[in-house]
Each structure stands twice: as structure tokens, then as C-alpha cells.
């Protein structure tokens, strides 16, 4: 654990990519394959099943620290991170040990399902063997909250450098590696770094997803529109449909296997020739129109997918790329060629559940800009721009030619900050998570109705200023939450708006965030519920009258 803790401290202390790569290189140079296997798993974003329930961790923490439960809770509220809280309040270690990471993972796994009293006693004994960093990491590993500002891409590069391999090879081998049921022993690690050609990928694995960059401003910087394939940007679940050897897998972008959530996709996959991988968007679809994302959520959240649920929310795959045909990896072929092959394949399959994401063709960027104004009416988020000669890259790289997302400006209202909650991580102890309200002009006068929460969009300096104002204008405290006197107005942006009986305001918005602080605007002049409702009216009207 000491070596892994040291790596963690070094990664945590630097923001420079080269500094992080150096730290990873030092770790891989000396770690045993068994420990490196688990380190790679955690660094690449693996989340093990929680071996000890949170409530039991808390009880053990309270017992070991000797603090009153309310006092422990206060500590947690001030720190904003359970593992760190625990590391701060536990008594000093009595008998430090140096077990490796793999041994600790095995010890934790053995706690699953054990008798609660036994689990607590063993946890407390384990903590006694670890210093501050070791305890902090152990709790992070148990709780699945391990994060250290290292992207999967960075781990891939570090491993590639360590093994003397091409990064793409390592990326492909890492697919599925962070799945909990994969092997994470010394052999698995050796397979990750084995010489080129020694290892074949597992049968159902997708390719690393190629991710788009956000286009800020005018696309004319991209040159002639003739060099680009333009499509609508769909609001669904990014997925790869993999058909190999008579079997079908549907993977979401988080490399989660979601085949069982979408039986119609599994059934569609059986109609594809063996050795086919399609990239696209799973979208709720009705009468040739994409449905709001919320409709899809009814499919994801449900434990049992009854025929009724399936019929209520039919889905299609809006295909926009083909990554493998006849078992041949096409990712190095130009976008244009892949697109033509995809069009041919979709036409040949001719299945209503497989829809080609249409090309949008206009003469100039100005014409595209005009058409983009219709995005909301069409239930899409703007355009995707893909260079005709782009290869299909790994992650958010630009070396292979870029994909750009050219999104529409969000809807927005001016809203009043009414509650503030302390943030987590680097924002712990600062009031950074806000609840916003608009005026409701009821019969008994005006009152503020909360309708959205947002925590992003402000600069660090603005956050400090808002935090100070929150503290000064606090009306009441409810644990980590404070209600404040209404003095702050923000322009709040969001992507979509819907009716929602679950919310007090009767309205739910998607992806709310602060666009700017309206220091110029008095609270009285913030927007009203009527303004919000009118946006809702527009959205509903459009959705039923426009076709794609």
C-alpha cells in the first residue's frame, strides 16, 4: 500500500501531465505485477462492488474514533469526504504494516457478507496498520470513490510507455479491464503489457469510443463545409452494438454492458453479419421523432422490463459509424469511406430499429447556422461535424482528425439563489451547490419557488465571493444546507424543460448550470414561473408538430 499511496500523493500533488506520467512510470517500474494489476484497475476508473456497507463503515469509524455520532457528522460536513474525515479522526496507528495493494484488495473482498461485528472488528484492526494516506486510500477503495485526476488516456499512455507498446494497443486491451468480473491478477497485468500480437481481445469487447470536442464559436475556423460530414447531434445513449460469432453485445460509453436493458437492440444485433461493430446513439423514438431523454430513463431505471414498458418507449439505434465489418477493424479508414459502408449496410439490413443518422447538407456554414436554430424543434442538441478524412480515434484525441459538437445555446432564465450546500472534494467546506427559484405570482402575492439545482459555471473567484455572501446572508441552517436571504441572481442555462409532478414548481430542467452572475439584476426582476412555463409550452408544441 505504501508504494500505491506514494503514487497517489504524487498524482494528487501535480497538475502537469508530464509530472503525472513520471509518477506513473516510477510506480510501474517497481510495482509487482499483482499490485500493478489492481493499481491499473483503480486508476483506469474501475469501481469494485462495495465490500462493506456505508452504514457499517460509519459505525466502525465512530467506534474507532471515539467521537459522538453527531460530532463525527459535523466533521464529515466540514471535510466533505468520508474517507478523508476518517483519516483525520482515527487515533494514530499502533502497528504499521506494509502489505501490498493486491493483498489489501483481497482482505477487503473477504469482508463481504461476513458477520457485522466481525467486519467492524477487522476494519478497526486494519486501520491500525495504516498511516494517514493508507487509511484514506483504503476507505476510498472500499467505497468505490477512488479518483485521482488521472484520465484513462493517461494511464493508457503510461502503460504503453512502460511496456514499449503503441497506445492504441493498450487502449484496446484495457477495454473491459475495469469490469468487476474481469481478472485483475498478475497474469492479467502481464497480458496488458505483453508484446504486440501476443494477446487477442475478448470476443465481445467494443472499441474505445472516439469522443467529440466542443466547438466554441464559429465553424468557419474549420475551413470549407465541403470537408465535413454534418449530422444532427442526438440526445440519447452513446453505444456500440457488437455482433461477433453469433453473439450480440451493446456497450454504453462508460463501457458498461447494457444489452439486457435494450432487448430490441439485442434482437437487431442478430440480424447483423458476424464481425460487425456499429457506433451510434440509442434513442427513444416514436413516429420518426426522437423523444426526450427522460423517456429513455424509464428504460434504464426499471428493474424489470415488462412488455408494457418496452411498448411505451420503443428505441432505435441511430447509427453513425461502422468500426468493424466482416471482422476487419475499419478505424483507420477515412470517415467518408466508413460512412458509405454504413449507408450500404443499413440499407441492406432494412430494419426499422436501425436508423441511419442522416447527413445534413447545406452550401455554407451560414446556412447550417440558420438550420441549427431548428434544433430544439427537432429534439436534437445541434450538429456533429466530422472531417471526411478523419480516422476513428481513441478518446478525446485530435491526432486522428477531430469530431466537433456544435451545440445550440441553452435555454435560460434569471433565477434567485435560495439554498446553498457545501461542495465536495476541492470545493469541500465552500458553499458551491445552489438551489435556484423563480417568482410565483400567486393569489397571496409573490413567492420564490425552487425549480433547479446547479453547481457549475462559476469561476473559483466567483465561488469564493458567493460563499462569503451565503455565510453573511444565512437565514437558517439545516445540516450542510443553508437557506439564504434572496440577494443573488444568476442566469441559469439548461438544455431541456419538462413537466414534472415530482418537483414543487411542476417543472424539471435538464443539465442546469450557471451561465453568469447577474450582479446587475435586482432580485425583484428575476424571472417568473410563468416565463418558465411558457418555455415548456413552446417545447411541447414544437415536439408534436415538427418532423425530422
Amino acid at each position: 500500500m505504501k508504494a500505491f499511496a506514494q503514487l497517489y500523493v504524487e498524482l494528487d500533488a501535480t497538475t502537469s501531465t508530464s509530472g503525472k506520467l513520471d509518477a506513473l512510470a516510477r510506480y510501474y517500474a517497481t510495482a509487482s505485477p499483482g499490485d500493478a494489476a489492481w493499481a491499473t484497475y483503480f486508476l483506469a476508473g474501475g469501481k469494485p462492488r462495495q465490500s462493506v456497507p456505508s452504514a457499517m463503515l460509519r459505525e466502525a469509524a465512530i467506534e474507532a474514533s471515539g467521537l459522538a455520532p453527531w460530532l463525527f457528522e459535523e466533521c464529515y460536513q466540514a471535510v466533505g469526504d468520508f474517507a478523508e474525515t476518517l483519516a483525520h479522526v482515527l487515533p494514530p496507528a499502533a502497528r504499521l504494516s506494509d502489505r501490498g495493494l493486491a493483498e489489501w484488495v483481497a482482505r477487503l473482498a473477504a469482508l463481504r457478507g461476513a458477520d457485522p461485528a466481525e467486519v467492524k472488528a477487522r476494519l478497526i484492526a486494519d486501520w491500525d496498520e495504516l498511516d494517514w494516506n493508507g487509511r484514506f486510500l483504503l476507505i476510498k477503495l472500499i467505497g468505490g470513490g477512488f479518483r485521482v485526476g488521472v484520465s484513462r488516456l493517461l494511464v493508457t499512455r503510461a502503460l504503453a510507455a512502460h511496456a514499449g507498446l503503441d497506445a492504441k494497443t493498450v487502449a484496446q486491451r484495457l477495454i473491459g479491464y475495469t469490469h468487476i468480473n474481469a481478472q485483475h491478477d498478475a497474469d492479467a497485468f502481464r497480458a496488458l503489457i505483453a508484446p504486440e500480437g501476443d494477446v487477442r481481445g475478448a470476443a465481445g469487447h467494443p472499441y474505445p469510443f472516439f469522443l467529440a470536442h466542443q466547438l466554441n464559436g464559429d465553424p468557419s475556423s474549420l475551413g470549407s463545409p465541403d470537408d465535413w460530414i454534418v449530422e444532427w447531434k442526438w440526445d440519447g445513449i452513446r453505444a456500440q452494438l457488437v455482433a461477433r460469432g453469433g453473439e450480440v453485445w451493446l456497450w454504453s460509453r462508460g463501457e458498461e454492458l447494457v444489452t439486457d436493458r435494450f432487448p430490441e437492440m439485442a434482437s437487431l444485433g442478430t440480424r447483423l453479419p458476424a464481425g460487425t461493430v456499429l457506433d451510434g446513439e440509442v434513442v427513444a423514438w416514436r413516429d420518426g421523432m426522437p423523444q426526450p431523454f427522460a423517456a429513455l430513463q424509464t428504460r434504464i431505471g426499471r428493474k424489470a422490463l415488462t412488455p408494457k414498458v418496452l411498448a411505451a418507449t420503443p428505441v432505435v439505434l441511430l447509427a453513425y459509424d461502422v468500426l468493424e465489418l466482416d471482422g476487419v477493424d475499419l478505424r483507420d479508414r477515412p470517415q467518408e469511406e466508413r460512412r458509405l459502408r454504413l449507408e450500404a449496410l443499413v440499407a441492406a439490413i432494412d430494419d426499422p430499429r436501425l436508423v441511419l443518422s442522416p447527413r445534413v447538407e447545406r452550401a455554407s456554414w451560414a446556412d447550417y447556422a440558420t438550420l441549427r436554430e431548428e434544433s430544439r424543434d427537432r429534439g436534437v442538441e445541434g450538429f456533429m461535424l466530422k472531417r471526411r478524412d478523419a480516422r476513428y480515434g481513441v478518446g478525446r484525441t485530435k491526432s486522428d482528425g477531430a469530431w466537433w459538437k456544435w451545440k445550440i445555446d441553452p435555454m435560460s432564465v434569471d433565477a434567485v439563489l435560495v439554498y446553498a450546500q457545501r461542495g465536495h472534494g476541492r470545493r469541500a467546506s465552500l458553499y458551491t451547490d445552489y438551489t435556484f427559484a423563480v417568482w410565483d405570482e400567486g393569489s397571496e402575492g409573490r413567492k420564490l419557488v425552487p425549480f433547479a439545482k446547479a453547481y457549475s459555471g462559476l469561476t473559483d473567484d466567483e465561488i469564493l465571493e458567493v460563499d462569503a455572501i451565503v455565510r453573511r446572508t444565512t437565514v437558517e441552517k439545516f445540516g450542510p444546507v443553508r437557506s439564504v436571504a434572496p440577494t443573488l441572481v444568476f442566469e441559469l442555462g439548461f438544455e431541456a424543460i419538462q413537466r414534472s409532478p415530482r418537483h414543487k414548481s411542476g417543472i424539471a430542467v435538464r443539465f442546469p448550470r450557471m451561465l453568469r452572475w447577474r450582479v446587475d439584476k435586482p432580485v425583484e426582476e428575476a424571472d417568473t414561473l410563468a416565463t418558465l412555463t411558457s418555455l415548456l409550452g413552446d417545447a411541447e408544441k414544437r415536439r408534436t408538430t415538427t418532423d425530422v
Binding site: 500533488a13 460530532l71 459535523e74 469526504d81 472534494g425 476541492r426 470545493r427 469541500a428 473559483d460
Partner: protein, 354 residues
């Protein structure tokens, strides 16, 4: 025995019983039989000062009483011509029947706890204090009393300091590493107290061979006051007196307010760090986006607060600035008669320097 309200906020409609030796008034903490204030936040006739930090020692009062060690810094900050009676630690002065004495608080040079004795009752007002050793000021002295008025800046169990020699070893290692890479080591810390403690700390860690120590003007003024009061500090330099090449090996001490100012430009790609108790929390460290955070505080940590309170033998404890409700509840659960004073000691200033 009169019954005390649990939260003696003072200044309200129902005042605390007159038999209390210290009450809270809009001007500050007040001693009714003595007719003087302790660390008032508004100008008054008579002010007893615990120490010279800006939120405790404010200008405008007619007469001040403070420790001898605090005199020089106080005159630099409040004006050379203030009416100030300076007394030694332990020396007794009697005012309107109240015996006043000052006892080391271990916080900064000249910091004092104020002991008040009147008709057989003893109250102690702590001001700010720390228990950890600090070669630049007299160590905290436990003073027996009936009622202890304590600060609570770090009044949460998550605050537990490493031994100072370990922190100074870390600072020295950081300085040495930077110097080896020809990078200036830029360390932010409160100009009064923290900076001088760091100077003595890196000297005692045996790090003076690494390179010169450069101090921001705001720090240097206080270094002078410390030296004039008899505190030994290692040699320090103004930035203009150091050759450019030597700056690459230098340790630079600057107040947090110097961050982002043109003064820093000459150091180029410096490694920056902050010395403050608040750096104990990862979130606070990461928020500052500095290379390092050293959890070096001139306040007592949680165990320090608890041991200090215990060592006074007081049965009644009144908590001021910091984590007040938490301390009050915890002390009440331990069986103390616990209450709070609302004060205007500046939490923002504490956040910057503590």
C-alpha cells in the same frame, strides 16, 4: 448561585447576570466591575489586548494595556503614540478592584491570556493560543481559573497537527528540492507570527545552507520588531539585495495578500506553497491550486484546545470565534457549563492566516 443562560450572547434584552466578570457588549468583551474591554472591536476608553493581530487589536481606543513583548508590534500597527501600558507576563495591576495579569498564550510574540480576579473569582480570556512549541514566543501557560473564555478557530476533531519539527522538515525538503531544480521556493504565510516561526523553524531544521531567505516588505517590518524584542531570527534579505542567480535557491516568505501581485514576477517559475492550519484539508489545499500546503498553525488543534481547557480546571467554559456551536455542545456533553460569546474577531482574516 445565579442560573446562567447557556448562550451568553450579551447585548440583548436579557443581559447575563452582573456577577459575571466578562460579558459581551456591542463594543466587545467587557469586564463590568473593572470598566474595561478586552480586544474590543470598537473604540473604547480602556482596552486590554491579548495580542497584536488586526482583528484583536483595533485602533481608536483611549488607553491600552498589553504585554511588554507585544509593545513594539502594537506601536508599529496602531501608532507610535498610542497610550499603552505594557506589563510583564505575570505582573499584576489592579483596576477598580479587578486584578489583571497577562500570561503567555503561545500564539505570537507578546500574545497573552488575560487573567481577571475579583472578589475571589478568577476568569481567564484566552485570546488566540497554541500549545505546540514555538521558539519565537513564550510558551502557553495553563492558568487555573473558574471560567475560561476560549477561542475555537480549529474546534473540530479533524484538526490535529503534526509535530512542528516534522512540518519544518517537510518545508526544508521542499525548499532543498526546488533549489536543486533551480526554482525559487515561494511560501505564503501570515506576516506577523507565522513568518517568523517559519524562519526559526527552517533554521532549526538545518536548512540555512540551501540558499538565502528573502522576505516581503510586510514580513521584514515584523522581523525587525521581533529582533528588537530579543527574538533570534536567521538573516533575511530584501529582494533587491539578492543577486538574480541566488534567487533560484531562495526561500521567499510573503503574506497571502502578495499572491498575484507584480512583486512576484521576478521569481519566474517558482514553486508556491502556503503555511496555514487550513491546509490540513485536501479540499482547501486543492482550492488554492498551489504546489504544496503545509498545515502549520498558530492556533491550538482539537487535542490542544481540549487539553488547554482541562488544564485550567475551569468548570465553566465560554467559547468565542471559530466552531462555536460544536465546541459548546461537545463541552456540555463532557459536563462543562458551556456557553458562547458572539464576537467580531474576523473569520476571514483567520481563514487567510491561521
Amino acid at each position: 448561585m445565579p442560573s446562567y443562560s447557556r448562550t451568553a450572547t450579551g447585548g440583548g434584552i436579557i443581559g447575563p447576570p452582573m456577577s459575571d466578570l466578562v460579558v459581551s457588549r456591542p463594543e466587545g468583551l467587557y469586564c463590568p466591575p473593572g470598566g474595561f474591554y478586552i480586544d474590543p472591536w470598537r473604540p473604547v476608553d480602556r482596552a486590554v489586548l491579548t495580542h497584536a493581530h488586526g482583528d484583536h487589536a483595533r485602533p481608536g481606543s483611549a488607553r491600552y494595556l498589553a504585554s511588554r513583548d507585544a509593545e513594539r508590534v502594537l506601536r508599529t500597527r496602531l501608532g507610535a503614540d498610542i497610550a499603552l501600558d505594557a506589563i510583564s507576563y505575570g505582573e499584576r495591576v489592579v483596576h477598580q478592584g479587578v486584578a489583571i495579569s497577562l500570561h503567555p498564550a503561545g500564539h505570537v510574540l507578546g500574545s497573552a491570556q488575560v487573567r481577571l480576579e475579583h472578589e475571589g473569582r478568577v476568569w481567564v480570556v484566552s485570546g488566540d493560543y497554541k500549545i505546540d512549541p514555538d521558539p519565537t514566543c513564550a510558551p502557553f501557560e495553563a492558568v487555573r481559573c473558574d471560567v475560561f473564555v476560549t477561542e475555537s478557530t480549529f474546534g473540530l476533531p479533524i484538526y490535529r497537527w503534526q509535530p512542528p519539527h516534522e512540518i519544518f522538515a517537510d518545508i526544508a525538503a521542499w525548499w532543498r528540492g526546488n533549489a536543486a531544480a533551480a526554482r525559487t521556493s515561494l511560501l505564503y504565510g501570515y506576516a506577523f507570527g507565522k513568518a517568523q516561526r517559519i524562519l526559526a523553524g527552517v533554521r532549526d531544521a538545518g536548512a540555512l545552507d540551501v540558499g538565502p531567505i528573502v522576505c516581503h516588505g510586510a514580513v521584514e517590518v515584523l522581523n525587525d520588531a521581533y529582533r528588537a524584542t530579543g527574538v533570534a531570527l536567521p538573516p533575511t534579505h530584501r529582494v533587491d539585495d539578492v543577486a538574480k542567480a541566488d534567487l533560484k535557491r531562495a526561500l521567499v516568505l510573503a503574506p497571502p495578500s502578495a499572491a498575484g501581485t507584480p512583486w512576484l514576477r521576478r521569481f519566474g517559475d517558482a514553486s508556491d506553497a502556503f503555511a496555514s492550519g487550513w491546509m490540513r484539508l485536501r479540499g482547501a489545499r486543492r482550492r488554492r491550486a498551489l504546489d504544496r500546503g503545509f498545515a502549520l498553525s498558530d492556533h491550538a488543534d482539537w487535542p490542544g484546545l481540549m487539553s488547554a481547557i482541562l488544564s485550567t480546571g475551569a468548570r465553566r467554559v465560554i467559547v468565542t470565534h471559530g466552531n462555536v456551536p460544536i465546541m459548546v455542545r461537545h463541552l456540555a456533553e463532557l459536563g462543562y457549563e458551556a456557553g458562547a460569546f458572539a464576537t467580531e474577531y474576523d473569520e476571514d482574516a483567520a481563514e487567510a492566516g491561521a
